[in-house]
Structure formats: C-alpha cells, structure tokens
C-alpha cells in the first residue's frame, strides 16, 4: 500500500483537527446570519471582517481598533508589572521565612477569593476614574496567581540544592539569587502566565466601568450603545487574539528557558 499523502498522516490530521470547529463555526455563523438577516442581532462575516481589516480607522469617534487595543495593553502591562513587583518578592519572602509566611498568610487567604471586579466600587471611591483604578483592579487580578505560584516554586526548591550551596559557603543573598530564584523560576513563570491571562480579562471588564473613555472594553460597550454589533464582535476577536498571542509568547519562553524542568528525571 502506498504511504498516505502527508496531509492525511496522523500528526498532520491532528493539527488539522484543531481548525475544524472554528471553521465550522464561521461557516455556520455566515449561514445563520444570512438566515436571520438582521445585522443588529447577527451581522454577516463580511461586516466584522471589514472592521478587523481596517484596524487603524476611527470607530464612532472613539479611536481605531488598534489604538484602543494598544491602550488596553498598556493598562494591563502597568497593572501586571505592579502586581508582579509586589507578588514575587512577597512570595519569595513567605517561602523562605516562616515569620513572613505566618504574618501574611491569613490576609492573603481572606483576600484571594474576592473577584477582582468586586474591587471596582472601592477602586472608584479611592482612586476615582482613571489609570490608578485600572491598575489597581488589574493588579488585584494578576496578584494572587503570581504570589501563589511563587510561593509554590520557592517551597519546591530541593533541600539538597540549598544545602549544597550552604556547604559550599553561600551567603543568604547568594542562595536567593543563585538557587531559590532559578530553581523556582519555572513555577514563577507559570504564575506570571496565569496572572497575565487574568489581568487581560480584568482590563477589558474594568474598561466597561462607567466613566472610561478608551480601550477595547470601552469600545465594545460604546459599540453596543450605538448598536454596532460588527464592532462588538471584532473587538471580542481582537481580545481573543491578543490573549492567545501573549500566552503563546509565555509558552515559547517557557520551553526555551525552562526545558530542564521537564527533562529533570
């Protein structure tokens, strides 16, 4: 029997499988849109594509798709970095020192179950509408996954690694920078990845807060008020694509830098 053409071999078939549902949904969507025939409920594919394909054109006086996406990204990065800058040192401290752990543990357990968006009213009351509120809410979303993974990572550092460094004469700061940090890095990275994902969800939701006037979340709400369903859907697609893109970046760096974690026995 001749070998199957490349496209039908299993590995290729498997990667093709990934696209079956999205393509089916797009096709179904188009058919459904033709059948519904009401652009305010379900616009045609072309209408959404038109918005997506001209990302630099102003929409409803709110700026372009690209500009709003950039605004959202800036906000999420600001919140994300603030969260990481607090959560990583705190996580390392709590992982290394029983005193710090006992001191912060209860507070963290209490705060953790509160959804980031439940902070919106307080954030508005404390910081008014603006970047600080946004950074606060986004930071709240990103903080706990980063903290918990850092803590986990630090506790997972093998005792042998630390004791070896001890015997070789390492000082505490050397143990931190040369053993704890690299040893916990893969897990911290996972925390950053999860944290960014949540931060990205938070920014879009936070931009739907009253009084906001830019960002992808705002664009979607504003499009809703103007019954611009194609813009809503295009905005959602952009949110999804940016989310996937950043996550992919995290994964690529993970594979490159932390290969040892998987290969370590």
């Amino acid at each position: 029997m001749p070998p199957l053409p490349a496209a039908f071999r299993f590995s290729n078939r498997r990667s093709l499988l990934k696209f079956v549902l999205p393509i089916a949904i797009i096709a179904g969507w188009e058919l459904l849109a033709i059948w519904v025939n009401n652009p305010f409920i379900l616009p045609r594919l072309e209408a959404v594509a038109a918005v997506l394909l001209s990302p630099t054109v102003d929409i409803l006086g709110n700026g372009s798709l690209a500009a709003n996406a950039a605004t959202s990204l800036e906000r999420v990065l600001a919140g994300f970095f603030v969260a990481a800058a607090i959560a990583i040192p705190l996580g390392i401290g709590m992982g290394r020192s029983l005193v710090l752990h006992e001191l912060f543990d209860t507070l963290m357990q209490l705060l953790r179950p509160i959804p980031p968006l439940a902070w919106v009213p307080l954030a508005l009351a404390w910081f008014k509408i603006g970047l600080v509120s946004m950074v606060f809410i986004i930071g709240m979303g990103a903080f706990f996954p980063i903290l918990l993974n850092t803590l986990d990572g630090v506790k997972g550092v093998k005792k042998n690694w630390i004791e070896t460094a001890d015997i070789l004469g390492a000082k505490e700061h050397q143990i931190l920078s040369r053993v704890i940090l690299p040893g916990a890095a893969p897990t911290i990275w996972t925390g950053l990845r999860v944290g960014f994902g949540i931060a990205w969800m938070c920014v879009v939701a936070a931009e739907m807060m009253p009084g906001t006037n830019s960002g992808l979340g705002y664009l979607i709400i504003s499009a809703y008020n103007w019954s611009q369903v194609p813009v809503i859907i295009a905005g959602m697609i952009v949110i999804g694509i940016i989310g996937i893109g950043v996550d992919y970046l995290f994964k690529v760096i993970d594979r490159r830098s932390f290969a040892w974690r998987e290969l370590e026995r």
Partner: protein, 252 residues
C-alpha cells in the same frame, strides 16, 4: 588535619515533646588522608551523623572539631555529596563545577582553569557544556564529586553517593573515587550500607548499630589497593567483617 567527633548524640523531637534518640555517644578520630566508611543498617542515623559533621544539623550534645576548631555550621573545610543528584539542573557541567568558586568570588579566568582541571579529573572533558539531564546517573555523580572538590575542602563527606546507581557503574565510580582520593589526598568519610563497598574502599570501617546508632565496631582493613573483589583475600575480609557485625552489632 584531624576530624574528631566527641560524644555526639542526637535526639529528635517527636510529636512535639517525646524525644527519640537517633545517635548515641559517637566518638571517633579520623586521621588526615584517611578513607573511613560508616556502615550501618538503614535508619541507624548514618545520614544524621554525616549531616551533623557537615554542620547542617546540630548535635544534641557533643561536638565536632577539625584541627581543634569546633564545627557549628556549614564550613568550607567540608565538602558533601548527597545520594540523589544535587546538581543544579539549570546549570551546565562547567557551571555546576564553578558554583562554589563563584560564591567565593574567584575571578572568571582562574575559575575556568580550575573547572577544566576538575572536569578532566572527572573524565568529563567533552561534557562541559552539557546539562545534567543529558548525563547518565554515574556522570552526574562524578560532577557532584568534583563540584565539592573544586573549592578544596580538606574532608569529603559522602552520603551513600553511589546508592542509586547500577552495580557496574557503581564499581566503576568506586575505582574512580579511589583514584581521585589518591590524587587529591582528601580525608573521606563515606556512608554506605553495603559491606562490599565498605571493604573495597575503606582504610577503616566504622559499624553502627540500629537506632539509636552507636559505634559497635571499628574494623581496620589492611589490604593493599587496588583490591580485587573476586580474590580469596577480599572474600575473607568481607567474611570477617560480616562475622563481626553478626556477632556484635545485631543487625541483619
């Protein structure tokens, strides 16, 4: 250099209050360049003994001295090799060997020279840029040995270092360890539960009893090296050691 253990005892707290003795009154003097094997059943406190000497744990009473200096914390006079590979998986072989030197601020060029010397000593000349996960178990343990040696401790403490290796690799590493020992003139304290290993390596075998471990026998092995495991003489010595253990040290 002399390493002396003076009346070491160690109790562990169990359930917060009850004290469980792990080591009872261990006294021993180890001479310069001596190869001593500590032999004992599992759970007899051999590892605890080694950890106390390394300064990783404090004895409940008694003390450890090197050349009259009391050890009360990790000291660079002592190197330690653990049973499971304690190599840093994110560091290459070179970087692992260089680790201790980096800690002490040895300049890069000097470091590279020392690393090369020890890498060659370990027979890993071609593996400087390999990561631990690319090496076999035996190779990893060689790296661990020379990483400890690179900072030039006077005593090497080894905690069942070859316990996780297959028999052939194990025999090979024992031979290599003796080579390294002869070249570097270290004092070695080697913990094992294998009579065969102890007889092959040691100048003296210190036999511990079951928990709480105390020394029940110190057996000098006078056979010249290299020892031949298959020889009648070796079998005789091993027999002698086993007999002594059975008669006086009550462990299977």
């Amino acid at each position: 250099m002399t390493l002396s253990l003076e009346h070491l005892t160690k109790d562990f707290a169990k359930n917060g209050q009850e004290r469980v003795p792990a080591l009872a009154d261990i006294s021993l003097e180890i001479r310069d360049e001596e190869f001593v094997c500590v032999l004992g059943p599992s759970g007899c406190g051999k590892t605890t003994l080694l950890r106390i000497i390394a300064g990783l744990e404090r004895p409940t009473s008694g003390r450890v001295q090197i050349d009259g200096m009391v050890i009360d914390g990790p000291s660079q006079k002592l190197g330690m090799i653990f049973q499971d590979y304690s190599l840093y998986p994110w560091r290459t072989v070179n970087e692992n060997i260089a680790f201790g030197l980096e800690l002490h601020g040895v300049p890069r060029e000097k470091r590279a020279k020392i690393v090369q010397k020890y890498r060659d000593l370990a027979g890993l000349s071609d593996f400087g840029n390999s990561y631990p996960h690319e090496l076999s178990g035996g190779m990893r343990q060689r790296v661990a040995v020379v990483r400890a040696l690179a900072v030039e401790p006077s005593v090497l403490l080894m905690d069942e270092p070859f316990g996780a290796l297959d028999a052939q690799t194990r025999n090979m590493l024992q031979r290599e360890l003796l080579n390294i020992w002869e070249k570097t003139k270290k004092t070695i304290l080697f913990v094992t539960h294998s009579v065969d290993e102890a007889v092959y390596l040691a100048d003296r075998i210190v036999v511990l009893t079951q928990r709480p471990g105390h020394i029940c026998e110190v057996i000098p092995i006078d056979q010249p090296r290299p020892r031949d495991r298959t020889s009648v003489e070796f079998a005789r010595v091993r027999r002698h050691v086993l007999d002594l253990i059975n008669q006086r040290c009550s462990f299977p």
